[in-house]
């Protein structure tokens, strides 16, 4: 099982499941991540963390530890 946190810049993946619960889970979903959605990793921060992704035509920044809760297929 791989997660979004392992995807390197330039890669495009599909979200399979969001495993985080509670506040983090809600926040990931509220900002527009859901199963079936295509996510493109744009870049990592100059210090490697956090990462920037593109979904549905806009950009999100999230830490790798948070992206670890986004399973991809």
């Amino acid at each position: 099982m791989t997660s979004l946190s392992k995807t390197t810049p330039g890669g495009s993946v599909n979200i399979k499941r969001i495993t985080a619960k509670g506040k983090l889970g809600q926040r990931l979903v509220d900002l527009g991540l859901y199963p079936g959605l295509k996510v493109t990793v744009i870049r990592n921060s100059p210090l490697e963390d956090p990462m920037e992704v593109e979904v549905n035509g806009y950009f999100l920044s999230l830490r790798h530890e948070e992206a670890a809760y986004v399973e991809i297929s």
Binding site: D30, Y34, I42, P46, E48, D49, S61, L62
Partner: protein
Amino acid sequence: MLKSVRMVSPTRLVALAGQPNCGKSTVFNAITGASQHVANYPGVTVEKLSGSYTINGTRTEIVDLPGTYSLTSFSPEEKVSRDFILHDRPETIINVADAANIKRSLYLTFQLLEMEIPVVLNLNMMDVAEKNGMTIDFKGLEQILGTPVVPTAIKRGQGKQDLVKAIDASIASGVHPGFKIDYGPMEPSIQAILTEITAGAGSFSYPLRWLAIKLMEGDLGVEKLLNQTLPDSGTLLALAEAERNRFTRTQEESPEKHIAYARYKEADRLNHLVVTQHPRTKTSKNVTNQIDRFVCHKFLGPIILALIVYALYNLSIVQGYKITNYTWPLLARLRDVTEWFMPDPGFITEPMIRALSLWFVDSVNALLNYVPIFFILFSLIAILEDSGYMPRMAFILDRLLARFGLHGQSTLPMVLGGVYVGGCAVPAIMATKGIPDEKARFATMMIIPMLNCLAKIPLYILIINIYFADHKSLLMVFIASITLLLALPVAKILTLTVLKNKPSEPFIMELPTYHLPTISGVLKRALERIWMFLKKIVTIVAAVAVVIFALIQFPGLTQERKAWYDNQAEIAMATFHQKMAKTAFGKTLATNGSAMELILFADRYKGARTRADKAAMEKINTRFESENQTYYAITTGKGGKEAKTARRTLKKLTQTRKKLLRGIKQEKIRNSFLGKFGRTLEPVTQWAGFNWRINIALLSSFAAKESTVATLGVLYQQEASTETLSLEKRMEQGEKGFTQLHALALLLMMALFPPCVATMITLKIQSGSIKIMLISFGYQSLLGFTVASSVFTLSSLLGLTGLQALFGFWFFALVVAIIVGFIPPRKNITL
């Protein structure tokens, strides 16, 4: 609040809701114009912005709800928005949505519609959507949702009238759309809960289907609401719990996720139905990505960040300080006017009302002096905020700061607070508002006073000039870096201890597309913040100034000392009269009253001249000469030999008076409550090498850091009246036993010493907690003193020189910072 009585029909209440970065505040400003006011929602530090407009005698009040992506009860902003809709029942909601991003916007729209309240969907930023190649079928969307859809590009001035008309129509009809999302396999559960609520609720005024959906989400806020309003909520909650468990078991998905996904699915479906996308290459998204290629670049990114931070610091603090050279005379005039209204001082006495009024004006002026700096600063911050750069700053620095329990967005407040040298804690603490993570926000707030604010600089310079004159720049670099080296581990320790129960927020955030800020938007925000600063800070600081005044003034001189000073004054006067009698002016100046008049005349003359340019000099001379020819002759010495002798006599008297006044002031401070406290502390502070003089200076810095040097100036008074020595020389002579070690301890104490009154008040306002304010004060006093005394005592024992101790402590702090950086952070994110 007082409201004037007018004959108008009752006010209509409207709420403005929308996700962040959809141009909601632009819409709010366009509709309400200048009639806005800010308050706080009860119990939380979330700002409540409201404004109004009046058409045909009907007033409509608009409350701008905080920008949120959703309406859960996880964040205070979302909870506040939701409660407002639920309890204040606005007549309609204007839902501002980013037209270029309909899919995500609808996610919030659906939640608003579920609350069974009239909604006007405002698709804003249509110009951007069109540029991106989107065509939107508004009529189609209107039909599906059953609610009016109004396209606007408010920033370009398009569609405001349509929006206002739609609000009117929506209020007039008063019907809420019946739009419902089909939650598929969850519908039976929702129905079951709905039946239970209907049975028990009777005439319940809340939207019932919404309650049922929220119960399926397991929303704690709604559960609490039901417990408070329904006598028999237990059965209902138990049913909801059972339905949730059953759903999770059978669908293998948590109910709250299923609900969110169903909303996205519906948004996706509508998006396909109403939006046609034409291929474009130059979309706002692509432009943003191009800019970010540089702004977030591995090497260029940090360089650009450093340049922006430097520009911000330079333009506001350095250039702004230059502007204060022009604004200070205005404030000085305010003081002159106050002085003019007050009774004149006596030879060695000062009327209490005069002393208090001038102290009061001086305290307020010290803060007002910063207004130009704040204006530039707030404008630049508004530009950074409106352009969309702020989140990039967090993106670049988050990893480093997160190691110390801070947040990427702590960067800006720390720069403002004086991460290098010369900031101000007040705007810095105000700027922490942008940090979404409560734990990191509080930690940032609490370390800012440790940084090097502008007002600490005079003492640094004084001490460095006396004791480290050969190593000036080394010392400045030491001070700038040591405060940061200490502040970072302190932030981490605070998050692990005092703040350990404050909730952390996930970092995930939007990196919005870049926008060109508008001048009016930026100026408006800057002025708003200045006004808030003046209202909140200055009033309280003025009040505290009075208290400190009392602590320094009372109990005053003993009768004996007072008699001694009176005697000295009489001797001086007698000598004056004796000498004057030998000149032609003897008759005019025979009484003490006339001598005093002359002194005041000379004072005023001198004061007028110091503030005048060459052209005005002549005028002043003529004015004073026509006021009193005799006094003028004596003061200037113009008028032959006699006048010159008289002038010398006057000068001697003035000098004696000054000496006596300084002596009285010094004794007064020494005997004052503050002075007594300073001396009581001596047995403890000796471990840091501080005597009572230093103690008093440090205590007085609590009112404003600038006071330290001013107080030292009084305590190290001129020894001989003939030559005027600089404070540097006076202090050096006054403290013969002082070494570089004493100086180092004092520097460290000043660097870490408690925040000034203005900062404490800001801390209280921004954190909403007196406890946080007191903890800040306490830990900084303790830390400052512990560091100063251990460095002083240890180095004395080891026989180190000042510079050796300085390097030793610097490396020690570096090692501590690195070790603390590796302690795993404590996160409170419920998973």
